[in-house]
């Protein structure tokens, strides 16, 4: 979903490691991609990134983002 929605043309989804950072090194996303991520998470999973602190933890890597989605989707 990330590769398709963020139009990461140079990234092969099969090559993405769970611990790859999303921003900077790793997938190389920037602040405008963060806008897309926040919108996508709300649209597809009804999950919010409430603030900067939550964003810092959730956006650390693919794994932490997946964990964040899993955790908040399970909440009633």
């Amino acid at each position: 979903m990330l590769v398709k929605e963020l139009k990461l043309e140079d990234v092969d989804p099969a090559e993405i490691q769970d611990d790859d950072p999303l921003f900077g090194d790793g997938l190389g996303l920037d602040s405008l991609d963060a806008v897309e991520l926040v919108v996508l998470l709300q649209k597809h999973y009804q999950v919010e990134i409430k603030d900067m602190d939550e964003g810092r933890a959730a956006f650390a890597s693919i794994k932490s983002l997946a964990d964040h989605v899993r955790k908040h989707r399970e909440e009633p």
């Binding site: 405008l32 806008v35 926040v38 709300q42 956006f59």
Partner: protein, 307 residues
Amino acid sequence: MADSGEAPKSPNYGGKLGYGIFQWIIRILGVTPAYLLLLLVVPYYALVRASARRSAAPYLRRRFPEYGACRRFLAAIEHFYRFGQTLIDQGAMGILGPEAFRIEFPGEKGLYDLAQKRKGLILLTSHVGNWQTAMADMGRLGVPVHFQFRLEEHTEGRHFFDLARRQGEFRIIPPNGFLGGMVETTNALRAGECVAIMGDRSWGARTARADFLGAPAAFPITPYHLAVSTGADLVVLLTARTGKLSYTLQSVAITEGRDWSAIPREEAIAELLDRYVQCLEKHVDAHPFMWFNFFDFWAEEKETSEP
């Protein structure tokens, strides 16, 4: 589209002593004596401070290409004077309060109606006129207002926000925070709130070049990206000084009339940027000395200042 690199570096206008003297005069004697003192200060900057003249030259050359060196020097004096008046007015806004000002805003009802749609509203401000005046009026929109603003950059010059203790009315989102404050900004817009962003400062975010006064200049694309991604309305706010403590405020809803989600993102961003730059050009055409970006706005890597 490019990344503009490091965030702008902010110089200090006048220093603590200079600001202190002007603030004292405004408090004790009012703004007119402050304007008179300015008449003594401006020639010093124009005659003695070559760096000040250099900072104004790129804009004046583009705005007045027909001027020779002598007329451009006189234009620089007027430019500095209008800038000084604006700084004094910013101080007066903090010290005397917005109620001391006469602000004409013909588009206020339309802007209020847009805010009340609760689909998110981006206010695109610029370093023209007195953006603090524009923000003073935004407390009446009936929705929470956030402002992308580097507070620490405005040391002695941050009259509006600290002297009037108006921060309670606005939530500051620092653009130099985590991911440029985009998490908070996106959440605010998705919640139907209002976010004010500078259209002429990138603070390290991605930029695109658009023709402004006859040559390409780099502008941040963040506001347009936000509008397209969140579906928020985007309104350009421009101010001009019309007299003593008197300003006019103009708003242009540049997202009106098109479904931006139906066209390719890059095309939408380019079109919206173009609409903003057209607004800016019309404004500096009508108010040539209300442009307060004192650096080479057309340079590849901007050395910016922060009035």
